[in-house]
Amino acid sequence: MKRIILPLIAGILVAFAVAGPLLVPVDPLAQNILARFAPVGTPGHLLGTDNFGRDILARIATGAQVELLTALASTMIALSLGVSIGVTAAYSRGLTEDFLMRGIDVMLSIPPLILALLVVAVLGPSVPTLIGVLALLFTPGFARVAYGQTLSVRSRPFIQAAIIFGAPRRSIILGQILPNIVAPLLAQASLTIASAILVGSGLGYLGLGIRPPMPSWGGMVADGQRYLATHPMLMLIPGLFVVSAILTFSALGDTLRTLWDPREQGGR
């Protein structure tokens, strides 16, 4: 069952993300206050309308791009930053290690809210800022994982072999260590994408999420929550998309991890 449903959901999500506005050629910003809170199945508004009378399906479709872009981009940035920090710390040891890892701890001990506020203050609110904030929030997690993994990998004999055979530091890190710490990082990344969607909507409260009226799924959930008691669909529909995106990403992470394992690849 899982084998059919997950790719199906993934397909829908990707279709929306790639061609959403084309698939649903309704202006997601067009307000029609008289037609607000139209229920699901209203002709012309398949998934109903929101508190401004905007078409929910169109907003979901348009939001897909932004949502997936921010989640993926921030995760990628956090991944590369965190891995650079973690691997450098574990590989250099000594003062650099202390400095980097304690720095990571300091970052982790600052409440995310404050961290987010600071970044927005410096960069101003926009989608790139949101990506930056999320990346900053998730970097320490990746750094920690990369650090721990590198520590355990670097003592393995094939690293010693590389040293003996004259490998320069760069290719030890990139060619020997990195490929061997990818699996846990992938696991972390699939979790992070999920948090990125959640935290992204939470940051909307600070006015630094995706700038309205541009739709985003997380933002739609946050807005819809206000009408939970009277019009629950406003929250449930985007919520369903958030949940399925998260499930898809974690399944994707698992698949990638298996594919990465040479034991799962064919011989030649």
Partner: protein, 315 residues
């Protein structure tokens, strides 16, 4: 002794980190736009720059930044963060009054989340339905924002069914009511923790299960139950507890939305509200407590790790 010296070193580094966080926050606040005096007077008519200047002076905001930073760091030594702009009360006192709620919430949520997670994780490797529960429900719980979960619980269990109160706190003098009011917020906070811990526990158990000593235990005729508890779970718990500590450490500042939904006045909402009026002393104080809590939990977890895994402490 080794342990004492190690702890001492960790604590010193921890203190340095707290000071570091404080300085970062202090400098950060200067960069963030928005002014405490203007924010405070935003609803008062006929306010011109003269009144703003007078109040700035009263709050000591007219002094140059390095002087204020120095004063702040000196104040830190006495745990004095200054007088809250908003409440005209020492920030320390306000934080102290909010801390009890937060800690109670966080500790209970962590306790139930962690024990529940360990239980579920154990079940998931032993039974098929446990496996389904953890692998399907887990991600779903993790993808529902806390405020949504909280709202749904309130609508369902409080307003529709009337089983539990909708929010707020009751004093300790009324223990039954006190507990009743904590149930929903604790559940809301604990569920995602349980989902995470269950996942980790499951992973670790699968890992430990292949170890040789488990085979030894079976080979010596220990009943399955005993082998599971003594040789699998006990060993799997060490990494689980480290991760739990991390979860716990980050939790104290992250309960904002749940506090909001259930109307609990904890540290998280205090921080948010003080940020929203730029109440510098309160922000500094709240961040101090949150970062100190995080760092302390981390130190404790590191030391605890040593006790749980004798290989670490004795070497």
């Amino acid at each position: 002794m080794g342990l004492a010296a190690y702890c001492g070193k960790r604590i010193l580094i921890g203190l340095a980190m707290i000071v570091c966080v404080q300085v970062i926050i202090f400098l950060a606040i200067q960069v963030v736009p928005g002014d405490p005096v203007e924010a405070m007077l935003s609803e008062t008519a006929g306010i011109g720059p003269d009144v703003v200047a007078a109040l700035r002076q009263q709050f000591g905001l007219d002094k140059p930044m390095p002087v204020r930073l120095l004063n702040h760091v000196i104040g830190l030594l006495r745990l004095d963060f200054g007088i809250s702009f908003q409440y005209s009360q020492p920030a320390f006192d306000i934080i102290a009054s909010r801390l009890a709620v937060s800690i109670e919430l966080v500790v209970l949520a962590a306790f139930f989340g962690i024990t529940g997670g360990i239980l579920l994780g154990s079940l998931s490797v032993q039974t098929r339905w446990g496996d389904r529960l953890v692998s399907i429900l887990g991600p779903v719980i993790l993808s529902v924002p806390g405020y949504v979960l909280g709202s749904v619980l309130i609508l369902g269990l409080s307003l529709s069914l009337g089983w539990l109160p909708a929010g707020g706190v009751a004093p300790f003098s009324d223990p039954a009511e006190h507990v009743r009011r904590l149930v929903l917020p604790v559940v809301t906070l604990a569920l995602p923790i349980a989902a995470t811990i269950a996942k980790v526990t499951r992973f670790e158990i699968l890992e430990v299960r292949t170890q040789d000593w488990v085979r030894t235990s079976r080979a010596y005729g220990f009943p399955t139950r005993v082998t599971f508890r003594r040789d699998i779970l006990r060993n799997a718990l060490t990494p689980v507890l480290t991760i739990s500590a991390l979860e716990l450490g980050g939790l104290i500042g992250a309960t904002v939305l749940v506090e909001k939904v259930f109307n609990l006045s904890g540290l998280g909402s205090l921080l948010v509200s003080s940020v929203s009026v730029r109440d510098y002393p309160l922000i500094q104080g709240a961040v101090f407590v949150i970062s100190a809590f995080y760092i302390a939990i981390n130190i404790i977890s590191d030391i605890m790790y040593g006790f749980l895994d004798p290989r670490v402490s004795k070497r």
